[in-house]
């Protein structure tokens, strides 16, 4: 352990770019990115489940508005959505006096709102696809048992749809991690924000961006392996024997 600390100190000694200060920025950046991505994914997921059920509804007055929402949020760049929410909230007269302001004042929450709405739209469509692909046999079996629509949704359709959605949802999680890099545009010190700071201060693009690229790469692989593990466990019964 001592060897390791000495080695680390030697590595940093005489290094103008990777000082304890800049490493501190990368660390807070990692924390901010993780919080932002994790929270938006969790809230987005919670929103997406009822939305996906509504989107699969036979009543057009339920499914159409939800389709419009997912179409708009999937059809426009997240950057624009972020700009609209970040700059837009300010222009509601008197918002600064309301209880919402302490929240919206920080760049974190407008970014969180934009990311959440975005990922909820994608996740809704992923789940809708999975619900639509429910094998007829499973539904007929449930009906034969005399299950109500709600019970069937809860016990049969949703659990099987979740499993089918898993690979696509794993991609969405990685997509969200990568998309979160734009948070630095609205002053958030996320991982990319830390890299931009280091770059602007030391004019060292390789050190600044390669380092942060390596961190993102590790995070991506961690997510990838987590979902592979989940798939192995949850989809084992679908594997050809």
């Amino acid at each position: 352990m001592d060897n390791l600390t000495t080695w680390f100190n030697d590595l940093l000694a005489g290094n103008v770019i990777f000082t304890p200060q800049t490493l501190g920025y990368y660390w807070t950046g990692l924390v901010t990115t993780s919080q932002l991505v994790f929270l938006s994914l969790v809230i987005g997921l919670v929103l997406a489940i009822p939305l996906a059920i509504g989107r699969s509804s036979r009543h057009r007055w339920i499914s159409l508005p939800i389709y419009a929402y997912t179409y708009v949020f999937r059809g426009t760049p997240l950057l624009i959505q972020l700009y609209i929410i970040y700059y837009g909230v300010v222009f509601f007269d008197g918002i600064q006096q309301t209880f919402l302001w302490p929240i919206l004042r920080e760049a974190f929450y407008p970014a969180l709102i934009a990311f959440t709405l975005n990922t909820a739209a994608y996740t809704t469509e992923i789940f809708r696809g999975a619900i639509k692909a429910t094998p007829r046999g499973e539904i007929e079996a449930a009906r034969a048992y005399g299950m109500s629509q709600a019970l069937m949704m809860r016990r049969i359709i949703l659990p099987s749809a979740f499993r089918r959605a898993l690979p696509a949802y794993g991609n969405e999680v990685i997509f969200m991690l990568h998309a979160s890099a734009i948070a630095s545009v609205v002053t958030l010190m996320d991982l990319t924000g830390a890299a931009r700071f280091v770059y602007a201060r030391f004019y060292a693009p390789f050190e600044a961006f390669l380092f942060v690229a390596a961190i993102y790469l590790c995070l991506t692989f961690a997510i990838l392996y987590f979902f592979r593990y989940l798939e192995k466990r949850l989809l084992a019964h679908l594997k050809p024997a």
């Binding site: 624009i80 837009g88 991690l177 990568h178 390789f206 942060v212």
Partner: protein, 233 residues
């Protein structure tokens, strides 16, 4: 409908930049994607490894970070090279990466990796018997590729291709962050100057939706063409 405060022409110009950038990057991505797919399917061990490394690395890192790395770092590498030319041999010329070229190269480079996967899957889905039939007719490898493998592959590749194009289109918005005056950047600039974000950002969002809808229609037609001769009539 909207009072654009005189920013209208510049916004249109920006929309032009966005569309040009998207189409140029797409062309580059398709070329790189085809090369990558061939490398991955080749029996050459080294080619296979290089292609795999390329697709893995690119897909593991955010677009924006790659864009900044290539835009800011790529130029530095070029400079080192041209400075060395000057110092050693007195050759006095330099290569200048402008924001548009850097944007198109970066996006093309990134989506080349995604296209590579799409094309590889599609090539593998082509019925081998068709290729053998072509060879039996005495077609050269290139002719087999052009007349048989490529058109058949496209049928399988189109859904993925169309999906990649939609993502690519939205990715072009990121070039505004590295300084290219596309429509997102001009809209953001105008919103700051006039303090009216909705006036500029909402129409730009609408343009993206419009391009996406037109593309959807176009790809649906294309799919019909490549589906000729296959099932469901």
């Amino acid at each position: 409908m909207f009072d654009l405060h005189g920013y209208g022409p510049r916004l249109l110009e920006g929309a032009g930049v966005t569309i040009q950038l998207a189409i140029l990057s797409l062309a580059l991505a398709i070329v790189l994607g085809l090369l990558t797919a061939s490398a991955k399917m080749s029996r050459n061990w080294l080619l296979h490894k290089v292609a795999t490394l390329y697709t893995t690395l690119i897909r593991g890192v955010p677009d924006l970070v790659l864009m900044m790395l290539l835009f800011f770092g790529g130029q530095m590498v070029l400079n080192l090279a041209t400075d060395a030319l000057y110092d050693r041999f007195g050759v006095d010329w330099y290569v200048n990466l402008n924001a548009f070229a850097a944007g198109a190269l970066t996006i093309g480079f990134i989506f080349g990796a995604y296209m590579g996967e799409t094309f590889r899957g599609a090539f593998m889905a082509v019925d081998h018997g068709q290729i053998e039939a072509g060879k039996a007719y005495g077609m050269s490898n290139w002719l087999v590729f052009r007349r048989i493998r490529f058109p058949l592959m496209m049928r399988h590749a189109l859904p993925g291709l169309s999906n990649n194009w939609m993502v690519l289109l939205k990715t072009t918005a990121l070039v505004s962050v590295i300084g290219l005056s596309d429509m997102v950047r001009i809209a953001a600039e105008a919103s700051r100057a006039t303090h009216e974000p909705f006036t500029f950002l909402l129409p730009v969002a609408a343009i993206y939706l419009l391009i996406a809808s037109v593309s959807e229609w176009f790809f649906a037609r294309l799919q019909k063409r490549y589906d000729v001769g296959f099932g469901e009539h």
